[in-house]
């Protein structure tokens, strides 16, 4: 008699914990043939608010870590992901990708994390300056993280897109709450398990599963979120995001899809601080 398989419960990731949605709702994820693969948490606005709280709590510690330390933690995420490569590939296949495409996406995602791990202690020098002011002052500008960032991740590529959305953001010292791909959420949940074992402090990345329709307004309007990154091309959604962002002068970053990797993606959620110091007394 064959062994009975143990099925996985797919949960969200908030503050370093794996809660189910507080709303206790779900949506069924089906494969191409219509067979149910899993019941996914249908995250609520309250889940999002809890995640913002966790992200705010985590922000001080994460942004205060040395750049070298952040670099190592992010590199560790890549290491953990590499070890679970086959699981990510299987899940992408389960969600409709060909094995070749799935393998390529997972490899690309891991390599992208390594790429940004390298940036963690380098972008500062790209974006900082010593300013030759015409007075007796030593004046310099350097980048600091914007704070708590909400992210509406791309639908596809679901895993590579998630990495493209969250890794540059945390490389810059921000904490974030990302809405996973609605149609392909499995990778996001497994990615949470990678994060939980990779020395990333709880709350730095929070992952919610659910629908854009229900959560988009909350992601853009929450008053303790400093920036929103939106992936997509839906004009009505973009307008709604930009309008809701005005409530607290949120920075609204609109990306039509995943782009060319580079420090510009880190810079999207950075602020510039300029400090003045007198010279001579």
């Amino acid at each position: 008699m064959p062994r009975l398989e143990v099925l996985k419960t797919y949960k969200m990731y908030i503050g370093g914990q794996f809660p189910r949605t507080e709303s206790a709702r779900y949506y069924a994820l089906a494969d191409k043939k219509g067979n149910v693969i899993a019941n996914i948490c249908l995250g609520s606005r309250k889940d999002f608010r809890n995640a913002v709280e966790a992200a705010r709590k985590a922000f001080g510690d994460w942004s205060g870590k040395t750049a070298y330390n952040r670099s190592q933690v992010i590199y560790r995420i890549a290491e953990m992901m590499e070890g679970r490569k086959s699981q990510f590939v299987n899940e992408l296949v389960l969600q409709g990708l060909t094995p070749a495409k799935a393998a390529a996406e997972v490899s690309q995602a891991i390599d992208l994390i390594v790429y940004y791990a390298g940036w963690a202690d380098k972008y500062q020098q790209i974006y900082s300056s010593v300013n030759p002011v015409a007075s007796k002052h030593f004046n310099f500008s350097f980048p600091e993280p914007t704070g708590v960032v909400s992210i509406i991740g791309p639908e596809t590529p679901s895993l590579l897109g998630l990495v493209d959305a969250v890794i540059p953001c945390i490389t810059g010292g921000n904490s974030c709450i990302v809405l996973a791909s609605e149609t392909q959420p499995l990778g996001a949940v497994t990615f949470a398990e990678v994060l939980a074992t990779s020395d990333l402090p709880g709350g730095v990345i929070n992952i919610i599963t659910g629908t854009r329709k229900e959560l988009l307004a909350q992601y853009a309007s929450h008053m303790d979120v400093n920036a929103i990154v939106y992936y997509g091309t839906d004009k009505a959604e973009i307008k709604a995001v930009q309008e809701n962002a005005t409530l607290n002068v949120k920075r609204a970053i609109i990306r039509s899809g995943i782009g060319t990797p580079g420090p510009e993606l880190i810079n999207d959620t950075l602020e510039t601080k300029t400090t003045w110091h007198p010279v001579g007394y």
Binding site: S129, E243, E271, T275
Partner: protein, 495 residues
């Protein structure tokens, strides 16, 4: 054994007698030329407004009318945007970058040559002391043009490896607190980056922008590269909403900034916002206290407190609070309030009747909230709009005078005991534009300046500005930077 503390509370306040009165030293207005009436500056010349309407601009210190200026409507704005587009697609867009830079240098030089006229008009129209318009506003405005002129042919170095492109037509709306300087902050980087401009000065202070229009005309800048349309909120809204505008840059209140951000939602317009502030100015017990007191005064009373980055929340460490307040009160007693054109004046006129009403409203609120008000004994002129420098002692975090931007010479004073406490209090505001830290301990400066969530932090100094130094806020104080290399980014796009 307990450390012996100086009892500062029993120190007698300094006695100020008539020795502190200065003889009047007014700057002459004979040298300036003002027209009775100004049209818009569109397509290289002054034109009658299509609206056919004008409004008067007054001196806030004498309440006398200085000139009539055009009240722009949507048709005026449309004409200005069309002129800007034509120039962008034509001569300006095709001009070699080095030549573009030379035009900007010319503007800087002509401004320097006419600096006295600009300074006097700035003080007449806006009410700020001539000492400030002469020594701060005008020289900095010139320096801004001079600095960005040199960038015009060096844009490839802004973000190495990426090819920069200009955006097109920039719509720019500026406030009344630094009329000429804000015009320079907006126009200079926009031109250096290769854009053309439609700028609206504030309705209470349009004159120096119109003088700048004369200078731009005299510099021979191709027609339509810079257009200046005067008017109030409706004129600004017409610029923001014009479909031919590619970029909007706004300096002003957070409330209006939010309206603008909302208005352009769903469009492809780029936006920079430089909005309000409620800066913490933090005095530690180990600071050079006399210098700190000067910094407090400069932080809140510079330009009558009409400064977005004003140090309007004072935090003094408890152990030195009595001494600092005593010194501050003494210093405030020496401040000269009055005629902006007098070279001895420290605090000029409040910019407008409306702003004075706002400030007075907050003075009432502060008293009603239970804070202790202090104003020095000084006389103010009978005509014009005036507010004595004001302290609110024993203010608390929840007070509206602590939370809301007053934009006047009003300082809310709080005390603190520990570094963590003051950082928490300083950051407990929706704003994040600027902050000040006073201590003689270097490592403490770096700890505090790093923890303050603000875009500009002054350590052992305050209210310093420079064209090479990026300026702009965190949180609800806006986004984007003005000044320095960073200040070019809002006017460029990259492949």
């Amino acid at each position: 054994m307990a450390k012996k503390k100086t009892d500062t509370t029993t120190i007698e306040p300094l006695k100020f007698s008539g020795a502190w009165d200065y003889a009047p030293a007014p700057e002459s207005t004979g040298h300036i030329k003002l027209e009775k009436r100004y049209g818009h500056f569109i397509d290289g010349k002054f034109v009658e407004p299509l609206s056919k309407k004008y409004f008067a601009t007054y001196s806030p210190s004498t309440e006398e009318k200085l000139a009539d200026v055009a009240d722009g409507n949507a048709a005026d704005v449309d004409a200005a945007v069309k002129a800007a587009r034509k120039a962008y697609n034509g001569e300006w867009g095709k001009m070699p970058a080095a030549e573009r830079g030379k035009y900007i240098y010319r503007i800087a030089r002509l401004m320097q040559e006419r600096s006295r006229e600009l300074a006097v008009i700035e003080s007449m129209d806006g009410g700020k002391p001539i000492r400030e318009s002469r020594d701060v506003d005008v020289p900095l405005a010139c320096a801004h043009f001079f600095y960005y002129a040199g960038w015009a042919d060096k844009l490839d170095y802004v973000s190495p490896g990426r090819k920069p492109k200009s955006l097109g037509v920039a719509g720019q709306i500026i406030p009344w607190n630094f009329p000429l300087l804000m015009a320079a902050w907006k126009i200079a980087p926009a031109l250096a980056a290769g854009n053309t401009v439609v700028l609206k000065p504030a309705e209470t202070t349009p004159l120096t922008a119109l003088k700048l229009a004369e200078i731009i005309r005299d510099a021979g800048l191709p027609a339509g590269v810079v257009n200046i349309v005067t008017g109030a909120g409706a004129t600004g809204a017409a610029i923001v909403n014009h479909p031919g505008v590619d970029k909007v840059a706004f300096t002003g209140s957070t409330d209006v900034g939010k309206i603008i951000q909302k208005a352009i939602a769903g469009t492809n317009k780029k936006l920079t916002l430089e909005l309000g502030g409620k800066a913490a100015n933090i005095i530690f017990e180990d600071a050079a206290l006399d210098q700190a007191v000067e910094g407090i005064v400069n932080g809140i009373f510079f330009n009558q407190g009409h400064v977005c980055c004003a140090g309007s929340r004072l935090f003094v460490q408890e152990s030195v609070a009595d001494e600092v307040i005593r010194k501050l009160k003494d210093r405030m007693q020496t401040l000269v309030v009055g005629d902006p054109l007098d070279k001895n004046t420290d605090i000029g006129a409040i910019n407008s009747k409306e702003q004075l009403a706002t400030i007075n409203k907050y003075l009432k609120i502060g008293v009603n909230e239970g804070a202790e008000i202090y104003q020095p004994k000084c006389s103010v002129p009978s005509k014009g709009y005036w507010c004595k420098p004001t302290l609110f002692l024993n203010a608390s975090q929840s007070h509206r005078i602590v939370q809301e931007e007053i934009f006047g010479p009003v300082l809310a004073v709080q005390t603190f005991r520990t570094i963590d406490e003051v950082i928490e209090k300083a950051n407990n505001t929706p704003y994040g534009l600027s902050a000040g830290v006073w201590t003689d301990k270097g490592s403490k400066i770096f700890k505090v300046t790093q923890k303050l969530r603000a875009g500009v932090v002054w350590a052992n100094t305050y209210n310093k500005f420079d064209p090479t130094s990026p300026f702009g806020g965190y949180k609800e104080s806006g986004f984007g930077r003005e000044g320095g290399l960073h200040g070019l980014l809002p006017y460029l796009k990259f492949d």
